[in-house]
Symmetry: C2
Subunit: 264 residues, 2 copies
């Protein structure tokens, strides 16, 4: 078995090297266990204040891990990485529409972009597994399902739109455990926003996620929903923002930070 | 004894009314005990991204409590207050120089200003007092002394400059207690940055604070230093920023939030 067949044991720099050379996995969930993963939102300089303000006003979906200087495509704190190449895949939005999904963002990158790196719920999955909570999407080899909800984020400037959540089926007897474990990771979205009836969040059907893939429930599983770092992508679409680059949902920047350093 | 002679028992809205009608106390330390106080930094829209990024990169001196929409002189979350009138006093800086200190900022306010409200160490003074830590500046009826240090903040865009600290003399046997108590208030600057020799922070003499007033030490007191929300004012001066309005050091916005809600 090669290291790539066991992505959980790769180091973050090995994983980024794999992505830099063009490998595009279905998801980075389960990769480099014990390390923080991050969502990407890169916006033109003239939208950067609105984006920062939006993140500050919506710390549930948008906990900020690092923000780059305008024009600098590198992160330097959470990892030493080139944001144009070191994620598995990217989405490019123009006027709110998805215009490209690519493994390398170099040709789309602009020298006025500011990148926001936002916490990801994959970060707390190691802690969930350690606490005995099964991860159905990992068991099934799928990307986590994500849903646009009927909840509105707090707007900021030109940015307004819905909350997006990730969903994990959790055995009913472990809902309290999963809540407690994830509450300890506020920079990875923290405690769930809801457990139970998806209709409460305006989700019509769990079988048709807006991002990622549907997962199978085991008998007795309850759907649990966490605020998701794909929220800015739904907001970008709703707000018809002229131009942004994001990660491809479920395919994150893997950072050098250990989970423990972000837990509280 | 009137309520004004016992400012600790005023409600925050009563205190703001007092300030709105022109009263300017030496300090708001000790006012409205149990309520969060906040520093003000109001910057033109074109500096707002740099200011937000500076705060995010320097959460010790600049924990963000609320950020207003451009042009809106009101806070709506931490209090319902008019930032132009509801603080005791203001400073106006042009090209890094202090050009006015006024009790009412209305005539200086601009419609492109964005206001950052930043946590204040006065917030944790109730907790210190409850833990038996004496507050020398309160006992002596003085504004807390603040010092520009030799430590540099992390820069952001056009903003770069030194860390400012507030200093409180603490009996040696209570230094550990004071550290522990304040560490629980990260949105009020949290644990001290230093205790002991002021020279470690590049402070030549405790008798000559850069802001506020010198305080007397009791026998056995050790100087303890906390990151201070006046830091942006020192940074504004060092960076020669064209225009900002701040609170007058030690004369804060008193919010409606209780201390407990900000403690962690």
């Amino acid at each position: 078995m090669t290291a790539l067949e066991q992505p959980g044991i790769l180091t973050p720099s090995q994983a980024r090297e794999v992505f830099r050379t063009g490998e595009v996995p279905a998801t980075t969930s389960g990769w480099c266990r014990g390390h923080v993963q991050a969502n990407l939102l890169a916006v033109p300089r003239d939208l950067a204040f609105d984006a920062l303000l939006f993140a500050l006003r919506n710390p549930g979906p948008c906990p900020l891990l690092e923000v780059t200087d305008p024009g600098d495509p590198h992160v330097r704190e959470i990892a030493t990485a080139d944001l144009r190449t070191d994620l598995p895949a990217y989405r490019v939005y123009e006027r709110g529409r998805l215009v490209a999904e690519v493994a390398d963002a170099t040709e789309y990158w602009r020298d006025d972009l500011v990148a926001l790196l936002i916490g990801c719920s994959f970060t707390f999955e190691t802690a969930l597994a350690t606490a005995g909570v099964p991860l159905r999407h990992v068991e099934q080899g799928r990307n986590v399902p994500m849903y646009v909800t009927s909840r509105r984020c707090r707007p900021a400037g030109r940015l307004a739109g819905p909350l997006v959540v990730s969903m994990r089926p959790v055995p009913a007897g472990l809902v309290a455990t999963a809540t407690e474990v994830t509450a300890g990771h506020p920079l990875a979205h923290g405690a769930p926003v809801h457990a139970g009836d998806p209709a409460e969040l305006g989700i019509a059907s769990l079988d048709r996620p807006d991002f990622g893939e549907a997962v199978e429930f085991a008998d007795g599983d309850v759907p649990m929903f966490w605020a998701c770092g794909v929220t800015p992508q739904a907001v970008v679409m709703a707000s018809e923002v002229p131009f942004v680059i994001t990660h491809s949902p479920g395919r994150m920047l893997i950072t050098d930070r250990s989970d423990e350093n972000l837990a509280q």
